[in-house]
């Protein structure tokens, strides 16, 4: 395989995950409307999940089926409104949320916001010169914010990859790998457990399942770049093709 072809394969990986983190960020961070559902169920999204499928009927393949099915439904009358109700119920309130989408809820025994784990997340953001726009009034460790953080870092790594600054590419990729391991993957499976109890979910329980599958897969993908090796080797790998 030619080096540039191998680079292209990495580019696909990096580009795809940027798209997906951006997509998940919008899915969990924004009240749904026709526009978002259109992108979520469109060909680009289906391709993006499809490319991650390794065998027939695996998680990602099923996700594509789910999205295609959703596409036939979401244009019907009132569907978007129902999904919006589901979003409000699950993520906005006004009551207690069945699966609160904040890391600290799962990392403090009492299920509270603004805990020490929130500070850890904030420290991570700050290390990359980032903060929530709503700081300090919003909890930094909401699902949407953590996904946005990942999408920012994914964007950086792709950008540096394009400009052939591989050291920086690796720096950002390693940051994402660590953030996945120390944060997102630490709590989203438990978030998913609670989400699984939600009856009659139209979109979000399913997408939470897809998200957790994706996060695990992405982390493995990142790990494959670095497996058992120092950063130097990793760069060589990237430069030399994988």
């Amino acid at each position: 395989m030619l080096a540039n072809e191998k680079n292209e394969s990495i580019e696909v990986f990096l580009s795809n995950r940027l798209f997906l983190y951006s997509l998940f960020h919008k899915v969990f961070g924004r009240e749904p409307d026709h526009e978002l559902l259109d992108i979520l169920t469109g060909e680009i999204a289906c391709d993006a999940f499809g490319i991650l499928s390794e065998e027939a009927n695996d998680d990602m393949a099923r996700c594509v089926c789910f999205l295609r099915r959703l596409r036939t439904e979401f244009t019907t009358n009132g569907f978007t409104d129902k999904v919006k109700s589901e979003y409000t119920h699950l993520f906005l309130g006004p009551g207690a949320l069945p699966a609160p989408p904040w890391e600290s809820v799962y990392r403090s025994r009492q299920g509270l916001l603004f805990q020490e784990s929130t500070l850890e997340v904030r420290k991570f953001y700050r290390a990359f010169h980032m903060l929530p726009e709503g700081y300090p009034s919003v909890a930094d460790d909401s699902l949407a914010l953590e996904l946005d953080f990942m999408s920012h870092l994914a964007e950086k790594s792709l950008m540096f990859f394009h400009s052939e600054d591989f050291a920086s590419t690796v720096y950002y990729l390693r940051g994402q790998n660590q953030f996945l391991q120390e944060h997102l993957l630490l709590w989203t499976p438990r978030f998913l457990e609670k989400m699984a109890d939600v009856q009659s979910g139209l979109l979000y329980p399913q997408m939470s399942q897809v998200l957790v599958n994706f996060l695990k897969k992405d982390q493995k993908g990142l790990e494959n770049l670095f497996i058992g090796e120092g950063a130097e080797t990793c760069i060589n790998k990237i430069q030399g093709g994988m």
Binding site: S15, R30, I44, A48, G95, A96, L119, K123, G134, S200
Partner: protein
Amino acid sequence: MAKPISRRDFLKGSAAGIAALAGLSLLGTQKVTETPATSTAPSTSPTSPTTSTEPGIEAINTEYTPVVDPEEGGKWVAAACWHNCGGRCMNKVMVKDGVVVRQKTDDTHEDSFAYPQQRGCVRGKAQQQQCFGADRLKYPMKRKSWSPEAANGELRGIDEWERISWDEAISYVADQFKIIKEKYGNQAFLLGNYGSRYSFPPLLAFGGHTSVTDSTSYGTYLMNLNTTIGVGIFDDGNGNDRYDMLNADTILLHAANPAWSSPGTPAYLFQQAKEAGVKFITIDPMYSASAQALDAVWIPVRSGTDTALFLGVAYEMLRLDEEDGNTVDWDFLNKYTVGFDAEHKPADLRSDVNFRDYLEGTYDNTPKTAAWASNICGTPVEKITYLARELGKTKNVWMIHNYAAARNHGAENLPQIFMTIACMGGHMGKPGNCATNGFEANAGNSGPRLVSSGGSGLPFLDNPIDGIIPGPQVWEACLTGKYRYCGDYYNTQCEAGEDRTCDIHCIVHDDSAYLQTGPNQARGIEAHRKMDFVVSKAQFLTTQAKYSDIILPITTQWERPGNLYNSNREFLYCASQVIEPLFEAKSDQEINILIMEALGIDPAVAYPISEKQAFFNQIAGSTVINDAHMDYEPLVTITQEDIEGWGVEGEPQKGHISLQEFVDNGGWQVERKKDDDFGFIGYTAYINDPEANPLGSPSGKFEITCQSKADLLNSFGFSQKTYEPYPEYIVPELGYETTFVDGVIGGEKGEYPYLLFNPHYLRRSHSVFNNCPWLRETWPNPVFLNASDAKEKGISDGDTVRIYTKYGQVLRKACCLESMVPGQVGLPHGAWVNVDEATGIDHGGSDNYLLGNDIYGMGVSGYNNNNCNFEKYNGPELDDDVNVDKRIIEL
């Protein structure tokens, strides 16, 4: 890859998708953004990439160490504990970058009786959970099916919700206010708080609103007592300084449980008295936590029958006095009271009656003997005799009540008989003796304040609408348009009753939880469903928020500039801002200003100054007793630099403590010494010279037979009976007697044969804190049943029990007690209602879901002597509260 697609095509698609997503707008609260490296990277973080935007690989290995030292960079802040327990204890939190990482209480000085630390209780320690609960209301919300065109009110409480912007929320509120005012006039607004006449500036400035008056915690002690029988307003302020506790032989706690209700300094003081050898007696349906802690002699009593008990005590005191000549303080009665007997007739008395003749049975051939009393109140005769001895004149006695016995149907004469007993024993106006309330921060510690907050400088706004509905009638009035006015007894005083009408179309819930904490809750829910518009400020999906159309998220005190709290007389608490407002919550002042602006009213009529200026004004105006102990002088030293630093207006002044120290310390406490000049004995002036210092009663004396009391009671018109001037036993229209079919004690038991009362419970302060995880775990909120009663029905500890009245039904788990009077059911006060719409059964344990609109006597909300029944529940077992998620809207 499952699908053949060229990498080029894929990348093109991916890029297009990313661009499309970037085009989707997203609210700021869900976005992270890049920050300038120098301004936000904490200096304490050694590992963050610093100046270079694209750091080298070297930095990576030591990057983002996950453990954040909780205390590094943290700062202790005195944080508010502001709830309606009235405790005002010290709470301090270590805050680090907006996160509370540690909490403690008062450690500003060593603890001693002279200079006690103002320690908080378990609820105060859970305050952080109340501020940082994941279930906090974060955004303005609108009920989905409500619109200005169609209220669809029947869906209140079961509807879906949608998030709206503050602009939309304020517009909806202001537009509804304008429309409703134009269509129905200002009387159509009901401010749904328990004493709401002057509390909501936007409507006060907009022409006023109809109000509620409820007897709340005070019960029949809101009955103009100062101008009738002669004790202080609310029977407040006429006890003794805490040092005098040690002069008492006995402290009587009547229906008072400070271990649960005032567990800070007041409970500590009583504990100290116990350790110093003072004997405690409690009168209570339960052998309470306080009784246990203080090793008290328990006088068990059926709830709502306390007047009968005290009549029995009075009779026994006379009997004992005849035996020993040394029980009744005749000198006291002679000099300081009127109406005890025929020889001391008050000048204004229109009938020839007196207390002693009533007591001895002259009018009804029924002497109010211990046996007579025992039949009603259930207290064994020998315990009544014991109490009579203990309250005799040879003993030094503090008689402390906490109003709970006055929160009963038929308790109108309780304040007068309590006072009468105190007079018979001579327990007022001398060391070691007092008779007063023991309530909130001042429990066990009366006397003029030694240190006080200044005023905020915010103006008082009048309410031009004089429609004021008694609490038990308010929800019915929303449904029927009828009520009986009897003054604003919560805020000012009772007045003669008068039938009135109203036409309520809009309920506003501002700063209280009255749909949860007031009676007749089930009908209250119906009333809410009838309205054109209901709006609530809320910190969570509280009960009143649940049944609203628009909910406005409110900040906690931790998110506001600060406030001073007058605690007990020695302590002025200064709480400062802990964190920035969370999510989209705003303060009352901010919200009210927005509403006023939208109504076209100049907000300056209510808010001429900022919240910070109001805080500063309180501090600048704070005073402390001077060194000569004669007068008061400014407490806090304020410099020109302070004023400029705070960005407020003010004048420099000299005081006892610098502004910064005052704020850092969390206020100021006057250090006491034994035999200092700050001692206080209630009624001293009156006792020393009754002619020169008369009481507020018509005779200027304690009126044991009181014409003005009878006249007032007879003017209300809630009960079809004639009230007498003396403290007779009132057979309540709802109470112990009505647990029998024909209302005769000892007869056949009726459909609702148990007496239901609502003990205040340490999980909550009224309804506040009910959702805090620590407290839910520690305080399971069962129903208290007498063990024998439970056994008869085959109920054991932990069984799910259905408690029901003619108004509603509630599920709770049983806690079977030997230490509670048989026939009583104790359902803790304040649990958030959670109605199963299919069955109508409340699973939350709401006390007021079982209460109706019964109103008698002075219009008292009778919380403690309702009739109920209970049974082992056949349906699914109730889960423990700790395992039940806080209030979730079912989709």
